[in-house]
Structures are given as C-alpha cells and as structure tokens.
Amino acid sequence: MTKKRNLLRVGACAMTAALVLTACRGGDSGSSEAGGGITDEPCPDAVNPDNGCIYLGAISDLTKGPFAPLAVPITDAQEAFWAQVNEDGGVGGYDINLTDHIADSEYNPELHNRKYQEMRDDVAALAQTLGSSQTLAILEDMKADDVIGVPASWNSAWEFEDQILESGASYCFEAMNGVDWAVAERGVANKVVAVGYAGDYGGDAAAGVEVAAEANGLEYVALETPAGQENQTGAISQILGEQPDLVYISTGPAEMATIVGGLAQNGFTGTVVGSSPTWNPALLQSAAAPALEALYFQAGPWGPFGTDTPGHQKMRDALGDVTPNDGYTAGWAWSYALLATLEAAADLDGGITRENLVKAAGELESVDYEGMLPEDAGATDGDPNETAFRQSVISRVDPSAPTGVTIEQDFTAGPTVSDFDFTEPCFSLQ
C-alpha cells in the first residue's frame, strides 16, 4: 500500500520537475536559430574590434591517429590563413575565429561525430573535416544544420556533395595524370601496378590508375597493402613478381619509402609515381634516399611548399619559421575555397548566414587561389563533370628544395582525364 503511494508521489514530482526542466533546457536543442556561429560581437582578442565574429570549426587528427603528422601542419596553416584574413580586414564585416573550435578526433568516426555534436551550435562552417568515413559520420547532421565543410582529403566523391568544398584534383584524377605523364615522359608501355591502402584513398587512386591504364593500353594490376613499414614485404615481392615498368603508390610516406627501397634493393629500374600524401621530406635522410631520387615522382594537386606563387609566398610569410611540410601547403590552399564562399555569401541577400553559405558554396564560378591553383579550379556552379578540376602537378625529388620535391611538370590535364566522363565518384563512399 505504502509502496504504491510512494510511487505515485515520486511520479508526480517527476512530472512537475520534467515540465519545469524542459523549460530551462530551453532552445539549445535547435540547430541554427541561436546565431549558428555568426555573431555581431567581436571575436575574443579581435584584430578588428569593430567587426562581428564568425566562428569556424575544425575536426582533425591531432595526436594519436595515423594522419597526425600531416593534420597538425594542415591545421596550423589554416589557423595562420584565417589570422591573415583578419589582418587584411576580415570578410564582409566579420572577423574569423578558428582557434576556439579545433577538435581532435584521432581519425575515429565516433569521436569525429562527438566533437561535431559539441560544436554544432557554435560554428558557422567547418574549416576542416578530416577523413572520409569521419566526414560521412557527420554529413547528415551537417546537411540538417546547413553547415558547409572543407574536407582534408581529395576524394572524387566530394565533388558530388554540395556542402563539401574540395579544392584541387582528386586522388583519382591525380592518378590518371600520373600515369599519362609516365607514359609520355618515362616511356612506360607495358604494365602498371597500383599499390595502396584499401578504402577511400587507395581505392580512389587505384580507380584512376585503372582508367588511365586502359586508355593507354597498359596491363593493369591492383594490390592492396596495409599500413606499417614492417608490413610491406608482401607488396614488394608481389610487385617484383609482376615486373611492371610503372608502380603507382597511394600509401603513407613510410610505406612508400619501404616499398621503393625494397624494389631498388632487388634491382627494379622502372618508374614509381606516388599520390600526394606519399611524400615526406624526412625520407631523404633514410636508407631509401638514393632509390627515391632515382625512381620516385610525386603527383600532386598543386605545387609543393617552395613553389613561387603569390599564395605560396603569403603562406611562407604567415607561417614564419617552421619546418617546411606540404601539410601546410594543403591547409592553406584548401582555405581559399571557404574564403571565397564567405565573400560570396556576404554579397547575397541577408549577408552571411548558414543558409547563404550553403547557397554560395554551390554557385562559385571561380576562386582566387592567389596563384596556388588556377581560378576556375574552385568552380562549383554546374554539375561535377563540368566543374571538377582536372589538372595536377608532377614533382621530382630534389634534396635542395624546402620539402625535398620540385615541380617537374606544372599544371596539366592529361589526355585520359580530359576525356573522362565524370558522372559518378571513381570510388563510391556510400
């Protein structure tokens, strides 16, 4: 009897409490109505105290994940980029703050999602979202929140997502250009082996190699290799067994160096072309250095750190005294697209809002990359087959260059990629 009454009493209390508390939890569950990261208040420590403040977020791999060595300089460069924008007077009456909402996801989709939930009401856009499955993990919420994002990868699939602002040629196009270049300049005529990680990055590149191999009449073999320099024995012996004259690698730098070193040790004399993330200047100090100088070329979306363009110069000046690394170059170059979107949104009716950012992101006709990329590389106004940027840069090893590579062939779209009908991602992510 008493138990029942107790229950009733507690239940009644709970109900009243619930009603009261629902009120105090208030509107924080909504998405964009609470300003959504765009305020008229100046930023903390504002450069231009008269400007309002736009908060950007970045979810990256900053400590323990596999891409931390690249992601840290990427994020540093992005911070420097937006600081520079503020120095130059801001965008449309706003300063930009990236520093307050940088999060470390350890390259884990789950943490990526959690970090996004933490910042989703407080940022207007994501200046960086690193990783493919990681970005997919938040893509639906981004769409619901009208948040656009800059990916820290070059997947061809991003060309088909309106709210993802990619810059530069995808891994897939990069691979096509790499193969075309090797056929034209290095006399490759028989067989190409594409060796790379499984999944988004390696898969995208391998798809490009396959298309280019077919176009050039080469025999094509694909190999998958796991991460870890100690795990490359299999890849090396399989490549040697195939006897190709071109190897296209899409792994990390350690794996690439181990493979190239192993190939050279066994007398391989063909050509090796790697996707842009395969290079790290420290490799020049390794035992594989002579092999790399002899065999390796890097296909990349833009010129390396030491390239002579106004954009590169501005980046080097802004960063000051840092160990040169092409993570910086990537972080800096990617940011131009978001800057252009902010500028375009400022001209729209209603100024910079999340909705206008989404609208502007789909209507860009050009982006001023200050020479790092051609202006039309940033176009998004049209379907991907028209707007996707198809030119890549080929670099060779050069120990005297700041990041150990210099341009061998400047922006070029090879015959394969120029004829390629881009109606779906090279490597589908979902």
Binding site: K64, T233, G234, S237, G252, A254, T258, N280, Q285, A287
Partner: protein, 297 residues
C-alpha cells in the same frame, strides 16, 4: 630462392620481435604482468638514439649504447612511479596501468617526433650484401648480430651473476625468494630496466630502417605479443624462438599467401602470427617452451 629470401627477410624482422618479446618475458617473469607499455618504450628508445646521433653528433654505436641506458632508466622510473605502489593488486589492474603509461609516453614521443619521421642513419646503411642471390642490407645484418649478442649476454647474466640468480629465484617463487633475503624491489626494477634497454635496441634498429620512427611505428611492438605466447610466457629461449618464428611466418605468408591461398583475403600476413598462435596453443596450451602450471585445490 624466393623462399630463402623471404626467410632471411623474416629473420631480420623477427629479430626486432625477439628483442621486444624478451622484454615482455622479463617483466612477466619478475612481476607476472604483461606490460603494454613496451611499444612506448621502443619508440622512446629509438628517439634517444636519434637524438644522440643527430643532435649530439655521436657515432651510431655509442648513441645506441647511451640510448639503451636511457631506455633502462625510463623503464625503472615507470616501474617505481606507477607499478611499485600496486604490488599485490590484481595483475589486470596492473596491465591497464601499463596501458595508461603507454598512452602518456607515446604522446610525449609524438610531440618530439612532430611532422617528420625521425630517421637514424646506420653506418654504411645503404649497402646491400648479396650471397648466392640472397640480398640483405647491412642494417639488417647488424640487427641480427646485435640480437645474437644480446641474447647470449642475457643468458650469461642469468647463469652467472648474483642478480641473475636473484631474478631466477624470484620468478620461481616470490615469497620464498624474499625469505632468502632477496630484495624484491631491486628485482622488479632490474626487470623493467632490462626490458627498457631491449626495447631501446629494437627501437634503434626500427628507426634506422627505411622509413624511420614516425607516430605510427609503435604498432610493431604488438607483434611481439603472439611471439611470447607461441614461445611460452615465462621462457626466455621461447621469446627468441617465438619472435623469429613470427617474423618468418609473416614474411613467408606475405610472399606466398596471395597466390596459394588468395581466399584468405588481402594481407593475411598481418594476422598470420595470431593464426599460428591459435594453432600452437591448441596443441600446447603453455606455448612451446612455457612452464606447465601445476594445479592444486
């Protein structure tokens, strides 16, 4: 020929595993704990060598010797700060603590590594030796030689020194050893010091490899786990044999599995040591050389 080459490759890689496995076994014998901090000790040791050779300009071998001492010191500090207060607590609590240590040390190491991998220059490291069509780099040869020397030195240490005897006694029965006047704290510290030093040797040679020490290199040390189980958790020869076996099995599967047993999927060699471990354990539940546990009610 291809088989021979892959066995030679495997022995080189296996030497790293063997050194690491010895470290695990040292700690296990003294404290009955599996230390998950071994990966971090390996990374830290390799970075010490890098620092001594690159920043101070010391020759490789002297740099490595100093790194071994520093690695041993790190091992002792870890033992004293985090594990000594926990004596007598369940071993799994201790294992989890070593994981905490691993996280902390690795983050500090990553801070040091930064954006560029740290590569130790091995003297004459680019030279390739060729014997009857089998190639091996001088770095790998050096690694195998150092492993042999280390294992022999350890064996002599256990056989002929006071502390070696104390450690053996402790491994057999802690309480009896204490009753005989052995200071168990020293034994624990020594076990961790040896493990730290062994990890530093392994780390040095990993850092002197083709790609050096980057933020992901620590994973190599986990390959020593199947090695110690295959060899038997408390067996020193077992650790060496297990480590070499894991290296060879990995190299041989990497070479032949794609053609012979493609249905196992890409890169089965990654997990081949674990498959081998399961098979060995089904036949011999205490590994190849492990002591069988005597059960009493």
């Amino acid at each position: 020929m291809e088989l021979l080459q892959s066995i030679v490759n495997g022995l080189g890689q296996g030497s790293v595993y063997a050194l690491l496995a010895l470290g695990y076994v040292m700690i296990y014998k003294a404290t009955k704990v599996i230390s998950f901090a071994q990966p971090a000790l390996m990374v830290v040791g390799g970075l010490f060598t890098y620092h001594f050779t690159r920043e101070f300009g010391l020759p490789f071998w002297i740099g490595m010797a100093l790194a071994v001492l520093c690695g041993a010191a790190v091992g002792m500090i870890v033992e004293r700060l985090a594990l000594r207060p926990m004596i007598g607590k369940p071993v799994f609590t201790l294992a989890i603590i070593t994981i905490g240590i691993d996280i902390v040390l690795r983050i500090l190491a990553n801070r040091y590594i930064g954006v560029q991998s740290k590569i130790v220059t091995y003297p004459d490291g680019t030279r390739i030796h060729e014997v009857g069509g089998i190639t091996i780099s001088s770095q790998r040869l050096g690694l195998i030689a150092v492993t042999v020397v280390t294992v022999v030195a350890l064996a002599l240490f256990f056989r002929y020194t006071r502390y070696g005897l104390a450690m053996r006694a402790t491994a057999i029965d802690q309480e009896t050893a204490m009753a005989q006047g052995i200071r168990i704290g020293i034994v624990f510290a020594l076990a961790w010091a040896i493990a730290g030093g062994l990890a530093a040797i392994a780390g040095t040679f990993v850092a002197a490899g083709t790609a050096g020490m980057d933020q992901n290199t620590w994973i190599i040390a986990l390959k020593a786990l199947p090695a110690i189980i295959i060899g038997g958790l408390d067996s020193i020869p077992g650790a060496v044999v297990g480590g070499l076996m894991v290296g060879v099995v990995e190299a041989v599967t990497a070479t032949y599995q794609p053609d012979v047993a493609g249905w196992l999927g890409n890169n089965f060699s990654l997990v081949a040591p674990y498959a081998l471990m399961l098979v060995v354990l089904l036949v011999r539940p205490y590994g190849l050389f492990g002591t069988k546990e005597v059960e009493r009610v």
